[in-house]
């Protein structure tokens, strides 16, 4: 490979990583100004606890989300039980439910004074002891229910498309279906499972809304506290830097554990393997398990939201909601398009060149997913403030060029959600066998033709998944929208924030329900993709 062939991909990858690089520079620069006296206070009384809390939360949420996502994907992809075809798409629906919404519904319904414990005490007497929802277990449970669909989506895709032949081989060697799961299907699906786990881990690290509702202290609440209660943005950025290092270390460990193994589809022409029929009690146990997860993660919270929204709709629902919804959907669409474009550039660049610079740029570009939205927001504002100063120096005047525009908002979204688009696109690239490319190159195709005629057509499913995932994530996003939106650009999530901040959960239910409903369409599309992939496979 000539040096110019290597330079192109490296430059492209660096360009994609620029928003994140700018944010990191802003964070490091700010952190260096942290107040030493505050810092020693935090070290003594705060850091140890929030670090431990954060580790417990991430490990707990990832473990439960992995267990739920993988087992449910296996049941709906490789087994047969009553209601299987319903659950195969219904189990994705919790993806439309933001974690902070699930959190406030859980606390409102299940805390001591909530409707459920009140009713139970009414039946069984006042002395009845119930496990407190506002506990470590409670917050882990809520975030796991909000996060498992990411694992489910990835695991099911992997099980459906590349598992069939390998499983048949396993069966012919005398492995039962469950041995097949643990000894063949799961190891083969590892890159996708790891991708799902990384998404869940990063969502959890960056969560602010849900942990605040549970009053569970993590890095994000400590950052917010340093910024808005101790009034030290530098100290907040110092904490953010620690969090970034933490994330980088976790990603490095994951990468090292994965080693140098290569994964690609065993046979693109694999046929559907016969599903294992779960008969009688085992089948109904599977139905019960899937129903329970569906009920807790979607059906019951959606019902509760609908009831509250119904109560306040007559006084609260008016023309503003059309604007909230249009802005929400418009921003999500623009962000999805931007993230997809950059993910394709990045995926193609890293495939063309395994050079260190390219790989490092890719890692930096996708780091933003684990950074609290509030930190990204202040990074973006700092960076654009500097560029605006440059523009003013060139063009004169007092104006703001980029700060407070939709561009600023999109920059924040891209920094945060590029990783979400990168995952499926990268997964798609990984499954295109290198031998195919070699053959195409041997036939004289150049880089551009290779992309247009080989990669894009084969990436179809990955592209669709990337767009839909970013779309849903941006709709649910709260802190970046809140802090960098142009004047008058209130979205549904901003409205939810305003109402939950006042503890007015009935009025928060209306915009929450609107987010869930608007999210159902993309989630339904994701489901259809999955089903088509299954039929094709």
């Amino acid at each position: 490979m000539t040096s110019s062939q290597r330079l192109g991909p490296a430059l492209a990858a660096i360009a994609v990583a620029l928003p994140m690089i700018a944010v990191i520079i802003a964070v490091v620069q700010g952190a260096s100004g942290a107040d030493p006296e505050l810092w020693s206070h935090l070290r003594e009384h705060v850091l140890g606890r929030v670090a431990l809390n954060t580790v417990i939360l991430v490990l707990g949420v990832v473990a439960i989300a992995m267990a739920l996502g993988t087992s449910l994907a296996w049941l709906t992809a490789a087994c047969d039980f009553p209601g299987r075809s319903f659950f195969s798409w219904a189990l994705l629906l919790p993806m439309a439910m933001p974690a902070y919404v699930l959190a406030f519904v859980a606390v409102a319904a299940l805390d001591y004074a909530g409707a459920v414990p009140m009713a139970l005490r009414g039946w069984f007497g006042d002395g009845l002891w119930l496990p407190p929802i506002r506990s470590t277990a409670g917050v882990i449970g809520v975030l796991a229910l909000a996060g498992y669909p990411y694992v489910y989506l990835m695991a099911r895709g992997a099980f459906l498309t590349h598992g069939a032949r390998a499983l048949e081989a396993a069966q012919s060697l005398g492995l039962g279906p469950w041995q097949g799961l643990f000894r063949v299907a799961v190891p083969l699906a590892r890159p996708w499972l790891a991708g799902g786990a990384a998404l869940v881990a990063m969502e959890t690290l960056a969560d602010f809304g849900a942990v605040s509702i549970f009053n569970y202290d993590t890095f994000t609440t400590a950052i917010y506290q340093a910024w808005f209660a101790l009034f030290s943005i530098e100290t907040a950025l110092g904490l953010a830097l620690l969090l970034l290092l933490f994330v980088a270390a976790a990603l490095a460990i994951e990468r090292a554990a994965r080693g140098r193994a290569r994964y690609s589809a065993a046979d693109s022409g694999a046929r559907t393997a016969l599903r294992v029929g779960l008969s009688g009690a085992r089948g109904w146990a599977a139905t019960g398990y899937a129903s329970l997860v569906f009920a807790l993660g979607f059906a019951l919270p959606a019902l509760a939201l609908a009831r509250w929204a119904w109560k306040v709709a007559p006084i609260d629902l008016d023309a503003r909601y059309v604007d909230y919804a249009l802005r929400t959907v418009g921003l999500a669409g623009m962000a999805a398009f931007a993230c997809l474009t950059l993910a394709l550039v990045l995926g193609y660049a890293t495939r063309q060149s395994a050079g260190r610079i390219t790989q490092a740029a890719a890692r930096v570009a996708t780091l933003g997913y684990a950074v609290p939205g509030a930190v990204l927001a202040v990074g973006v504002v700092t960076v654009l403030g500097a560029t605006d100063q440059g523009f003013r120096a060139l063009a004169g005047g007092e104006g703001l060029w980029l700060q407070g525009t939709v561009f600023a908002l999109l920059l924040g979204y891209v920094a945060r959600f590029l990783a979400v688009a990168h995952g499926p696109v990268q997964g798609g690239f990984a499954r295109i066998r290198p031998s195919l490319e070699e053959a195409a190159r041997g036939l004289g195709l150049g880089a551009r033709e290779l992309l247009a005629r080989l990669h894009l057509p084969l990436l179809g499913a990955g592209i669709g998944t990337a767009v839909l995932l970013v779309f849903v994530d941006v709709m649910k996003e709260m802190p970046i929208t809140l802090m960098t939106r142009p004047f008058g650009w209130d979205t549904l999530a901003v409205r939810v924030f305003e109402m939950t901040a006042e503890g007015d959960w009935e009025r928060a239910a209306l915009p929450s329900l609107a987010i869930v409903i608007a999210g159902l369409l993309p989630v339904a599309l994701l489901t259809r993709r999955m089903e088509r992939a299954a039929r094709a496979a």
Binding site: V46, Q225, S232
Partner: protein, 232 residues
């Protein structure tokens, strides 16, 4: 005209901002399990008889931070830290993320007393007549009950300065004051204006007259104190 309408402790001494409505942060108690005669000061909620009967909102909320900041000004840091630690020792449940949730816990019997902003109780009493929680004005024998404000000011580079000031004056005028405070069950900052009947039913109280701005400057010290005392 704004100086005449708004009492001195509710506005910036230099005239940069003016409080327009007042919310008190005071003691709320269960009418089923507590007699008002058992209550007196914020500090007394740390006494042994409230062990396992006290509920609090999260220490990460500005309302509690400004209450502690006020106490630091009145009692000094050491005494305040002792009080806060005694509260934490009395808690019946993990701190709540909102006053509303905490008031409902008092009503449901999880605990008997707590500290709340008055308007949250106003909303609940308005929604549910007979809500079994009532207001007690804390520290009436001492420095008075802690108050917060919602208010307004004019920014340095405001383009329509004169109109902005006229708008604030309009907000401070008696007829508008009544409606402004009524929206959120608050007390009008303009002392000559009557609050809503729900709010007036709590009776009159003496507010702590420390300037609201002084409290803001002590807030970081209060946050650190609360971290040390373990108020989550």
């Amino acid at each position: 005209m704004l100086e005449a309408a708004i009492p001195a402790h509710l506005r910036d001494p230099a005239g940069h901002w003016f409080g327009l409505a007042v919310r008190a942060r005071t003691i709320a108690y269960s009418t089923a399990r507590v007699q008002p005669s058992e209550l007196s000061t914020y500090a007394a909620l740390g006494e042994a008889r409230w062990k396992g009967r006290l509920c609090m909102r999260s220490g990460k909320h500005a309302y509690n931070q400004s209450l502690v900041a006020m106490m630091i000004g009145d009692l000094g840091e050491q005494a305040t830290e002792r009080v806060v630690r005694s509260w934490i020792a009395n808690l019946a449940a993990e701190p709540f993320s909102s006053d509303t949730l905490m008031l409902k816990a008092i009503a449901a019997g999880q605990c008997d007393v707590g500290i709340t902003n008055s308007y949250y109780l106003g909303r609940l009493q308005h929604e549910t007549p007979g809500f079994p929680v009532q207001i007690f004005w804390a520290d009436q024998g001492g420095r008075g009950t802690h108050v917060n404000i919602s208010g307004g000011g004019v920014t340095k580079y405001a383009k329509n300065r004169a109109e902005a000031i006229r708008f604030l004056e309009w907000l401070a005028s008696p007829a508008i004051q009544q409606r402004f405070a009524a929206v959120n069950f608050e007390f009008p900052a303009n002392a000559g204006v009557e609050p809503l009947p729900t709010v007036a039913a709590w009776g009159k109280f003496e507010p702590n007259l420390v300037n609201v701005g002084t409290i803001g400057r002590t807030q970081p010290a209060a946050v650190k104190l609360m971290d040390r005392a373990g108020w989550r």
